[in-house]
Each structure stands twice: as C-alpha cells, then as structure tokens.
C-alpha cells in the first residue's frame, strides 16, 4: 500500500501521530490534557487506516472513537471532577518503576518479535495460499452470479492475479491483472476486486460470512447500553 510517493509520506506523518501522544497521556498531569492527547492518537490511527487502504474503517474509527468514546470519556472526566480549580495531581513518582518495567518488557518483547519473525515465511505462505484459494472460490461464485446478471468480467478477473505463488514478495506484481480499471489504482490488498470500495465488500462480509457475530454483537451492544444506564442511574431509582 505504501509504495513510495505520498502514501509513504502519509505513513511517516500518521505513525508518530498515532504512537507518540501516548507519551502525553502517560505524563499529562491534567486528565483533560490526556483526553486531548488521546484524540490526537485516535486521529493518527485513522490516518494509518487510510494509508493501508481501509477507508471505511478510518471513518468508522473517527465516528465511533472520536465522536463517541472520546466524548464519553470527556463527559466522564468533567462529571467526576470535584473542583475544576483544584485538579487532582497524579503522583507519578510512586508508579514510575512499574510503568517503566511494563513498557520496556512488553515493548521490547513485541518489537523483538516483530523484527525477527519472517512474516513472509512458510507459515505465512500457507495462510496466503488459503486466503487466495478462498478468494478464488468466492470469485467463482461471483462469476456465476455475474453470468446470471449479465457478465461483469472485471470482478472475476482480479482474483486470478491473487494466486498464492506470486503474492509474497511483490504484491505490486499482481497489479497488471486489473490494470484496465482506471477508477482506482490497484492496491496489493485489494486484488480480489479492486474496482469496488472496501465499504461494499465489508457490508457483504457482514451480511454473509460474519452474519452471526454481527447479530451477536448487536445483542451485546444492547445489553451494554441497558447495563450502562442501569449502573449509572441505579442509585437514583432507589432513592
């Protein structure tokens, strides 16, 4: 996705924006400042999603996190502030040791794993092969559907290029297979059917393969909603 050019620049803008505000949250003395550092970090993550080609996800991130969760947190901060003029100062010195140990331990192990693992190795080839096979199967179904609908060939031509053998080192090498689609430059991650945006395909996945988790999570959100209202307002009901 970030094949040089402006996307690469965008990565180097958004990656620090996503990662570094965490330091602000860690060291901010005022919890409101921490909330605004969190805002910067969430925007950085949304930018990273755009860099990687997940546009729908980026806007979902902005809508739900920035528009929902962050506002909720700010509400919580302001509702639990005893005296705005007398901001509770957090004593960091007592817990700087555990924090440092946690950061170095988890960060060191995770960074070591990230940079020493051969992500394009044999196991990943198997995963890729399985994914490509699934894509090909889907493409066949698509082909059958398209034949019924009147032959929309581009949708099925793309997955042919997604064979497991060539996807490993050079996703860019698969681009020519859908080079006849001028609307959107072919991206390695969207070789299945690059002419449709991610929104369409995410919606299709929600309504087909992920229909059960989708329904379950809607029940969960309803339960969380009712539970949150009950917990937050329970005392008033008793009185």
């Amino acid at each position: 996705m970030i094949e040089g050019g402006w996307t690469s620049v965008a990565f180097w803008i958004f990656a620090p924006l996503a990662a570094l505000p965490g330091l602000g949250i860690l060291f901010a003395r005022n919890i409101i400042h921490a909330a605004f550092f969190l805002l910067a970090s969430l925007i950085g993550f949304a930018g990273l999603y755009i860099v990687i080609g997940a546009d729908f996800l980026a806007f979902t991130q902005l809508l739900v996190y920035v528009g929902g969760i962050l506002v909720l947190i700010l509400f919580g901060v302001m509702l639990t502030q005893k005296d705005p003029l007398l901001v509770r100062r957090t004593k960091h010195l007592t817990s700087v040791g555990p924090g440092l140990v946690t950061f170095l331990l988890i960060g060191g192990v995770a960074m070591g794993v990230v940079w020493t693992t051969d992500w394009q190795g044999e196991g990943m080839e198997k995963i890729k092969a399985a994914a490509a096979a699934a894509a090909a199967e889907r493409a066949e179904r698509e082909l059958a559907k398209a034949d019924e609908a009147g032959g929309e060939t581009p949708a099925v031509e793309a997955p042919e290029g997604a064979e497991p053998s060539e996807g490993a080192e050079q996703p860019a090498g698969t681009e020519p297979s859908e080079g006849d689609e001028p609307g959107e430059e072919s991206k390695p991650g969207e070789k299945e059917d690059g002419e449709r945006g991610t929104t369409t395909r995410i919606g299709e996945l929600f309504m087909t393969r992920y229909i059960l988790p989708f329904e379950v999570i809607s029940v969960l959100i309803l339960a969380a909603l009712i539970g949150a209202v009950y917990i937050a307002r329970g005392k008033d009901v008793e009185e």
Binding site: F45, T90, F103, W119, K128, I202, P213, A224, A232
Partner: protein, 104 residues
C-alpha cells in the same frame, strides 16, 4: 520499501502503542486515565489485524474484525464510564487506589 518492511513498520507502531498503553494502565491512578490506556491497547491490536490481513492474507477480513473490535470498545467504554460514575457517586473519588467499593 518492500511489503515486509511496511508490515513491520505497522506492527512496530502497534507494538509501541500497545506497550505505552500498558504502561499507562499500570501508571495512571485516575480510572479514566486507565481507560485511555485501554483504548490505546485496543487500537494497537486492531491495527495489527488490519496490517496482517492486508499484507499477509491480502484481503479485507481483518477490517471486519477491527470493526467488531471498535464496537466492543464502544460497549466497553459505555459500561466502564457507568461504573466510574457510580463509583464517584459512592466514594467521591475515581483514583483507582482509593476507590475500593462498588456500594455504599
């Protein structure tokens, strides 16, 4: 940059943010600060889902998983804030080392 380096860069951002979020959870004494650290951890994991599904599998199913993660984070934040407000109503504090009861 080769795709593998790109993948590792994304994973590095996620790893750094995850470690930072964990440190925030350990360090901050304000319950809402802990909640912010939790959001960072969740975001880091979600970014890993997207990066892996993009660079390794080459599909968008990781994005679907990430949307589920975002939904769960929203539900979790709502419940957590309800609990925090309840604790504040009971004990007049949300410092996690002072508030130690859910009822009066």
């Amino acid at each position: 940059m080769s795709p593998e380096i790109q993948l590792k860069l994304f994973l590095s951002v996620a790893a750094f943010t995850f470690a930072l979020g964990a440190a925030i959870i350990v360090t901050r004494r304000n319950a809402l600060g802990v909640l912010m650290g939790l959001e960072l951890v969740i975001n880091a994991a979600a970014l890993n889902f997207v990066a892996f599904s993009h660079y390794v599998a080459g599909n968008i199913e990781g994005q679907v998983v990430t949307i589920f993660v975002i939904m769960l984070a929203a539900a979790e934040a709502a419940v957590a804030l309800a609990i925090v407000l309840n604790i504040f109503g009971n004990t007049q504090t949300i410092q996690v080392d002072e508030a130690d009861t859910l009822r009066q």
